[in-house]
């Protein structure tokens, strides 16, 4: 690519489409960069702890480069739109939590209805597209504090991800990371063969 892709585009390309959840994640990633004075991770200088596995996490991966594969994306399955972004170099971390709304606004409610409906009519396709535009502008234009609560927190940094040796499963013959293999009478076997 001959030009650096803006963060918004990076996230959309990674996620595959534009949706409200992704846009919220983009706001989180961009805020964390600004607040911590960091850019994109190269080699685990940044760490993200995410308490959800919804769309917003893809923005964290694409923009901050805290990724599942690199091991600096830690997933806690709490079902909460809460993200903690930490910088080893700055020894700082910020915890960002989406504000709770007991009732979504009318546009979001309608968008969700249409998003879950199969076989939309032409009018509904048009309406859904227009609603997404309205929601998009609202999410990207609102003051950050209207959308999220945040605070800098003390953070206990874990060790960087370790590369473990691979051993062969005694049943399927495939390689398996040593700590994941289970010792049996047949030898070491992978979790898939248990």
């Amino acid at each position: 690519m001959c030009k650096n892709m803006p963060p918004l585009e990076l996230a959309i390309q990674f996620h595959g489409h534009i949706c409200p959840g992704l846009l919220m994640g983009i706001r989180v990633a961009e805020f964390a960069q600004k607040q911590l004075g960091v850019t994109q991770d190269q080699d685990e200088e940044l760490l993200a702890v995410v308490e959800t596995n919804s769309c917003g996490v893809d923005a964290i991966q694409a923009i901050l480069s805290c990724t599942f594969g690199k091991g600096n994306l830690i997933f806690k399955d709490y079902g909460k739109n809460v993200y903690t972004i930490a910088s080893r170099e700055k020894n700082r971390a910020v915890r960002i939590a989406q504000k709770f709304k007991d009732k979504p606004d009318a546009d979001s409610l309608r968008y969700r209805q249409l998003n879950h409906k199969a076989n939309l009519t032409d009018a509904e396709i048009s309406e859904k597209e227009s609603l997404l535009g309205v929601i998009f502008e609202r999410i990207m234009s609102k003051p950050f504090d209207d959308l999220f609560n945040w605070q800098e927190i003390a953070f206990d940094f874990p060790e960087k991800a370790v590369i473990h040796p691979t051993i062969q499963c005694a049943i399927c013959g495939e390689g398996v990371m040593e700590p994941r293999a289970i010792k049996t009478e047949q030898g070491y076997i992978c979790p898939g063969c248990v």
Binding site: E9, I12, I18, S130
Partner: protein, 266 residues
């Protein structure tokens, strides 16, 4: 009458569209806006078929898109997927005729003329027929911001305009090409998703206030233009960009239809 339920008549059956509606506003282009007491809102292309006030029922009839009979317009699209060309690269622009960035394959062209504008001076360039599609191929020497426009003379004068970036980091301004009706970026810069983009409409070089500009983008699934903007007294209108790819702006005035292709980097 207090609130009413709104139904749409499909295939002879009345299907419930929205309950407890307290506001129905017929708008332009056959749009009907409705809002209910729960704050839900909808827009549908339809006409009111019947209002049964005693029974609190409003029945709508959808208007098929095909009956809207849109006019044909010209527009230009670059043959690059990342918004600009590189110096020495072949700069190729495709000309389309259709509506809402959907080419009409049956459309015919007549009296086409294409120009490149350098420092306000138009220079004629050739249009080539490339496997049935019209194309402009610019010299490989061009660099910077290049203005291109195509004119088709007929019952309606059609203009298609675009500003093409060859090379990087060209943030200086470009001047209007001096067309009878022109859409022009207020301050040329890289258009970015998630930001506002401002354009200006000029008629014979003067700002045209109160003009309706239609705006669309290449990925729209709408059959009609998804955005309608109105210019202010200085001919300006702004659009928040929410779609990837190129945008097209279109304005009609006094039998002239002019489009401007906003070529986005991604």
């Amino acid at each position: 009458m207090c609130e009413a339920n709104v139904y749409v008549n499909r295939g002879g059956q009345d299907e419930l569209l929205m309950e407890s509606v307290d506001r129905v506003v017929p708008g332009e282009d056959n749009n009907i806006f409705m809002e209910n007491i729960f704050g839900e809102r909808r827009v549908i292309k339809a006409r009111i078929k019947e209002m049964e006030l005693v029974h609190h029922r409003i029945i709508l009839e959808e208007i098929p898109e095909a009956t809207m009979n849109p006019h044909l317009e010209l527009w230009l699209e670059p043959t690059t997927d990342h918004g600009h060309f590189h110096p020495g690269e072949e700069v190729r622009l495709k000309l389309h005729k259709g509506y809402n960035m959907r080419p009409d394959v049956k459309a015919e062209y007549m009296n086409l003329q294409a120009y490149v504008v350098t420092d306000g001076v138009p220079q004629k360039v050739e249009l080539h027929d490339h496997h049935g599609a019209m194309e402009i191929v610019l010299d490989q020497e061009v660099e910077g911001l290049v203005q291109v426009y195509v004119h088709e003379q007929g019952n309606q004068d059609l203009y298609a305009t675009a500003v093409v970036e060859v090379g990087h980091h060209h943030h200086h301004g470009v001047k209007p090409a001096g067309l009878p009706l022109e859409i022009f970026p207020s301050d040329y810069g890289h258009a970015r998703l998630g930001e506002n983009y401002e354009i200006k409409v000029l008629k014979e070089g003067q700002a045209l206030g109160g003009a309706e500009i239609k705006a669309t983008y290449s990925s729209t699934q709408n059959k009609d233009y998804p955005h309608r903007l109105t210019t202010d007294a200085e001919g300006r209108a702004r659009l928040f960009l929410t779609a990837r790819g190129n945008y097209l702006f279109s304005v009609t005035n006094d039998k002239i239809i002019t489009t401007f292709t906003l070529i986005k980097s991604f």
